[in-house]
Point group: C2
Chain length 281, copies 2
């Protein structure tokens, strides 16, 4: 990474799904080698490695965990399924606390099978937060509602815009419930800039994540996120927007892309650092 | 179609892409046989058949053409390409006039290659309308801005919400520029109901189109629209919403779905009529 100084990467955090070819120890070693001091983690690989062991690895490597993905999926109406979802979210909160991250990202969940009432599903998200937010706050964890692109509204996340996320988050104290600003999900929305300012003014920006938008979208539309600079999102403008809203936290790169996973992790990290300096910071 | 009376289908219009296995004469005969009096047409098959000849066929068959799809794709910044796009749109307006439809659907176009300024691209849509709307009005054609789902924002249509469409349409007289309300594109948007009321109050609803939302989305996300009732959209609620906004026009079924195209056209039409009565009217 010729010409990139450590201070250039000060705010950069690597979400582990971006380099999912790496184990947790490889991620820790790779980030250290690349001069990157922060990572975003996912529950499944952390559980597989062992939560306590992962927490120790992060501490010993001097890595800050900027977020844990993810809780949520609590739009079910059935009481038993709902109770199970809330239990799972309490476990996610415990894991976040163990990893010493202040941010648990929530993807709300989609519409239950056969359900056509998206407004009611969104209300159930607020109901779940009312149960979980105090539990999380007691453990030093803030719940971060992530609006996902509207193409996921039916099967993953009924919260599609930053405005919707804030409408729910603002029912709770800002230190308990925040929002995630992710360029991949929000770039198309002409109202998102104003809502970013609103989120910043309310102290609600819990995480800022980056991926670029590229087409054609793959089947299932999950794994088509673009490397920074490969797509049509004005990433620097988004970084300025979030900065102008008063956000001073990590800038987390979260790209789900099999083409990146097929490459050498260190090479991918070097490319991200270079793109980050060129297109973001 | 046992039990379905002609008056049940009075407002139903079949967009020809829904049964694209049919030629224009087959479409005309098939609709007559099914008791359906209106169709939405597309430029390419009409041009292939001959515009004047298609217009005569529609007249002779007693079919009303509720819309012509589509003009638009005028987000280019390059002056020569822009001039060519405007010429093509004038041709589309002429074709709509010849087909005696009052509605030309506009899909704005996406971001030009390498362009990251979506706000500027949206302004170019308004600029193009300023040129085309008077030309269309002189020919008895209203331009209908169609917001497409945000998953098409980069490559097909920078207008993603009904609110954005109205923000542009309202710069022009309502008899010159309207909007399309299409359930497939708008169902996820919590602001769309209010904007539907706003569109109705302003006399701006030029077309109402139906398709259902089903997942997983196919590669390229173009041909994954669901048959009425197969997905998660509350279609009847949308019909009530549009009615409550004062819209009394056609209800056009526009489903791009290879599974429907592989079947017998008459069978597909019968199924649509049955679904329409069950889920919409």
């Amino acid at each position: 990474m010729t010409g990139i100084a450590p201070r250039d990467l000060k705010r950069l955090s690597i979400n582990q799904e971006t380099v999912k070819q790496w184990s947790l120890p490889e991620l820790a070693a790779g980030c250290a080698a690349a001069g990157i001091g922060s990572v975003g983690l996912w529950r499944a690989p952390v559980q597989e490695y062992g939560v306590e062991r992962a927490a120790r690895l992060m501490r010993d490597s001097g890595l800050t965990v900027t977020s844990l993905c993810r809780g949520g999926f609590f739009t079910v109406a059935d009481p038993e399924l709902r109770a199970r979802a809330l239990d799972d979210n309490r476990a996610a909160i415990d894991e976040a606390a163990e990893l010493a991250t202040g941010t648990l990202v929530l993807v709300s969940g989609g519409l239950p099978a056969g359900d056509r009432d998206i407004a009611a599903a969104r209300e159930r998200v607020a109901d779940a937060l009312a149960v979980l937010a105090p539990y999380a706050a007691e453990r030093g964890v803030r719940l971060a509602i992530e609006p996902l692109h509207p193409m996921y509204a039916s099967d993953r996340c009924v919260i599609s815009t930053l405005g919707q996320a804030l409408d729910i988050a603002e029912r709770f104290p800002p230190e308990q419930v925040g929002v995630v600003v992710d360029t991949y999900h929000l770039w198309w929305d002409d109202l998102a800039p104003a809502h970013t300012a609103r989120a910043g003014a309310g102290g609600r920006i819990a995480a800022f994540q980056l991926a670029d938008w590229v087409t054609p979208l793959p089947e299932g539309v999950l794994l088509g996120r673009g490397q920074l600079g490969d797509g049509c999102i004005d990433l620097r403008e988004w970084r300025r927007r979030v900065d102008a809203a008063g956000y001073e936290g990590a800038i987390e790169v979260e790209i789900f892309n099999p083409a990146l996973w097929a490459r050498d992790g260190a090479e991918v990290l070097a490319e991200i650092a270079e793109r980050y300096v060129r297109h973001v910071s």
